[in-house]
């Protein structure tokens, strides 16, 4: 398998928040250059995502200025042959009117239940995001990650050192964000980087003190990763 293909495929997966395909792992296990490149790409994607932290609020009053400006300009002209939304809506209304009452009522109830269901899911999702954010913010996982990184065992194992650094960055992003979408992105990152598996491996192989630190970090990562997008 060519290195270029492996790196391209790996980047696609990392960007999409997916796990690396099993087919790439033998090559990554035997090619140090690709393994190092993929680790750097992972950090690069984490860095890119962290730009969301520096997002700023647009200036107040800008919307009014835009709407005022377009109010004095000619309305946008539709192009020829466009489908009419009014036609589509009219069709839907007509469909409901011409159906027998029970069918129309059932359709209405179905739509209403769906809308309520979506709204409820979103509210639950937002609450869960807030809970996880609060949990990560209060947790000792980030400083523990830092202490773990300095241990001899981790220092001697480059793959785990990278995993600890990635985990720390993910936790920082999650702990500083309250937006459910961003926390979900962090969750995807956790899964993509197989950090949890890496920390399990540390728990199994490292000395006792390091195991405890790794365990605390892993539990926090699992909290984040359980936020399914």
């Amino acid at each position: 398998m060519r290195c270029e293909h492996v790196q391209d495929r790996a980047l696609e997966c990392i960007l999409a928040g997916e796990e690396l395909p099993v087919g790439l792992l033998p090559h990554l296990g035997s090619c140090q250059e690709c393994a190092a490149e993929v680790a750097r790409l992972r950090r690069g994607v984490l860095a890119a995502r962290s730009l969301r932290q520096s997002a700023v609020d647009p200036p107040r009053g800008m919307k009014k200025a835009v709407l005022d400006a377009i109010a004095t300009t000619p309305a946008a002209e539709p192009g020829p042959g466009r489908p009419s939304w009014r036609g589509a809506l009219g069709g839907a209304v007509h469909w409901l009117v011409v159906r027998p009452l029970p069918v129309a009522a059932a359709a209405f109830v179905l739509v209403a239940v769906t809308v309520v269901g979506v709204a409820t899911n979103r509210a639950q999702d937002a609450k869960r995001a807030r809970d996880i954010h609060d949990s990560v913010e209060r947790s000792p996982a980030i400083p523990n990650c830092d202490r773990l990184e300095r241990t001899d065992w981790v220092q001697k194992n480059a793959a785990f050192l990278n995993a600890v650094k990635d985990a720390k960055l993910q936790l920082q992003i999650a702990a500083s964000e309250k937006d459910p979408g961003t926390i979900r992105a962090a969750a995807q990152g956790v899964k993509a980087n197989r950090l949890i598996e890496a920390f399990r491996a540390i728990e199994n192989a490292a000395p006792e003190g390091d195991r405890r630190l790794a365990s605390e970090v892993r539990i926090n990562l699992e909290d984040i990763a359980n936020m399914q997008p």
């Binding site: 860095a47 466009r82 650094k165």
Partner: protein, 190 residues
């Protein structure tokens, strides 16, 4: 329920200004932040964003429903930003000056205190953000565009290719280079 962009476009074209207002709300924050990071100047970003929205409204009849409104409006913003670069005869520099004032030179990972309370974490996050912005500013505008479209719009390769009107292969190679360079920032290599 969230209406698709194309439905809001159709309604705007039918004279419903509330529909355009909804489109504005949908794109305000991500598009403004895209422009702000791209041009590296908050005031200029404000002008470019406003002009983008006004131009989008005026030219909405030229947008082909069923294509990709997000790509279309981003192309308008990018073209206006390019005009700004030509006018100022400079490349994007991001918001480094502002960030440097609040950050420090502490190492990304070494700065974390053993039992870090909130304020130290805030400092670290600012430092991380500053380093990343510096890395971003070192990229060319072409490389910066693909990263920012991924970050602020969540666009995949195909959508980025549509937005920038370039082949997917070019998007991939630019993304690879840009991500690798940002990865070096967190390696402490820059």
């Amino acid at each position: 329920m969230t209406l698709p962009d194309d439905v809001l476009v159709e309604r705007t074209l039918a004279g419903d200004t509330a529909a355009f207002s909804a489109l504005y709300d949908r794109y305000e924050r991500p598009l403004f932040n895209f422009v702000n990071q791209y041009v590296g100047d908050y005031e200029a970003a404000q002008d470019i964003f406003q002009e983008t929205m006004i131009r989008a409204y005026r030219k909405l009849g030229r947008y082909q429903v069923g294509t990709n409104f997000s790509a279309w409006i981003h192309r308008i913003a990018i073209n206006l930003a390019k005009d700004e670069f030509k006018r100022k005869k400079r490349r994007p520099v991001s918001n480094i000056a502002e960030a440097t004032e609040t950050g420090d030179e502490t190492d990304l990972f070494a700065a974390m205190a053993e039992e870090s309370p909130g304020p130290e974490k805030v400092t670290l996050n600012k430092d991380t953000a500053r380093r990343v912005r510096e890395g971003l500013a070192r990229l060319t505008p072409d490389h910066m565009q693909v990263i920012l479209l991924y970050v602020f719009q969540g666009m995949a390769y195909k959508e980025i290719a549509e937005t920038l009107c370039i082949p997917i292969g070019t998007v991939k190679s630019r993304m690879h280079y840009a991500v690798k360079e940002l990865g070096k920032v967190l390696d402490g290599r820059l």
